[in-house]
């Protein structure tokens, strides 16, 4: 599980159903993505902080949603590279 901040709470977790080795972890420190079932992780979107949850659209797995702990929703349509605030 290299690349995830050590000893930090993993609040949210989501998987690409078409390729389950692609997965996301939501933390207070931000959003992290793995493409090898969790062996290595990379942070996504420096603007993402204080995250509570993450979801992948099963029909369009590049479409990813996150929520902050207080309910700000952001959406990515490119697997987490770029983000837009929804409200």
């Amino acid at each position: 599980m290299g690349g995830l901040p050590a000893n930090r709470t993993a609040n949210g977790f989501a998987v690409d159903p078409e390729n389950p080795k692609v997965m996301y972890v939501a933390m207070r420190d931000g959003l992290f993505k793995s493409t090898d079932a969790g062996e290595a992780w990379k942070p996504l979107g420096k603007e993402l902080k204080n995250l509570a949850a993450v979801a992948v659209n099963p029909k369009r797995p590049g479409e990813v949603y996150v929520s902050t702990i207080d309910g700000i929703i952001l959406k990515s349509s490119d697997g987490g590279r770029t983000w837009n605030r929804q409200q």
Partner: protein, 206 residues
């Protein structure tokens, strides 16, 4: 006696002021709230059809049909005025079937796209359910992580008809539990748990 020029200028200023007030009123109606108006979000999930986004929070369950721009509150059960929704597990193929778990009242299941819900708690030792995982290839099989009273991991093989305790569960408070369709080589798949001690994974063949 005001000149025509003076009257026109006064009229234009009045119109401009009124227009400004009107714009501010419109902006006030359309302005996003600070945050989404939710208190302590726990979970997000999208239905199998890719249409409805569900959000679980300290203040209940919410659904959005427009990718999270606007939300409607879903009523889980009339006898509970307040439920803290901890986890959401949409069925991987049937967009009408959704499971959610709560801090106070266990697991709820909907078979009509979130309009009506029923409790599916037979066999659970406690009703503080923090994690809820649906098997992506065998969706009648689910695992939950129960906290506090009779804590541990419970499994159902019939869509919530009956739960059986199968394991003590991961160390640390479970925040999220997900079945991932990666074979373990031992006849099962992996359960990933987001916990207060980070991300952990375990084969689900307890």
């Amino acid at each position: 006696m005001p000149t025509l020029h003076h009257t026109l200028v006064t009229l234009l200023i009045t119109l401009a002021l009124l227009s400004g007030v009107h714009s501010r009123l419109l902006a006030g109606q359309a302005a996003p709230k600070a945050g989404g108006g939710f208190e302590h979000v726990h979970a997000l999930g999208m239905d199998a059809g890719g249409q409805t986004l569900y959000l679980g929070a300290h203040t209940g369950l919410f659904r959005s049909e427009d990718g999270g721009r606007s939300w409607q509150k879903a009523s889980l059960a009339s006898k509970h005025s307040h439920l803290d929704v901890m986890a959401i597990a949409p069925h991987p193929r049937d967009p009408r079937t959704i499971y959610v778990s709560t801090h106070e009242a266990g697991v709820f299941k909907s078979a009509d796209g979130g309009r009506t819900w029923r409790e599916v708690n037979t066999g659970l030792g406690g009703l503080d359910v923090h994690g809820l995982a649906i098997d992506p290839s065998a969706p009648d099989k689910l695992h939950v992580a129960v906290r506090e009273k009779a804590e541990g991991v419970y499994r159902t093989a019939d869509g919530g008809g009956k739960w059986v305790r199968v394991d003590d569960g991961p160390g640390g408070e479970v925040k999220v539990l997900t079945s991932v369709n990666i074979p373990t080589g031992m006849g099962g798949i992996f359960l990933y748990a987001g916990t207060a001690e980070g991300l952990q994974r375990n084969p689900d063949c307890f």
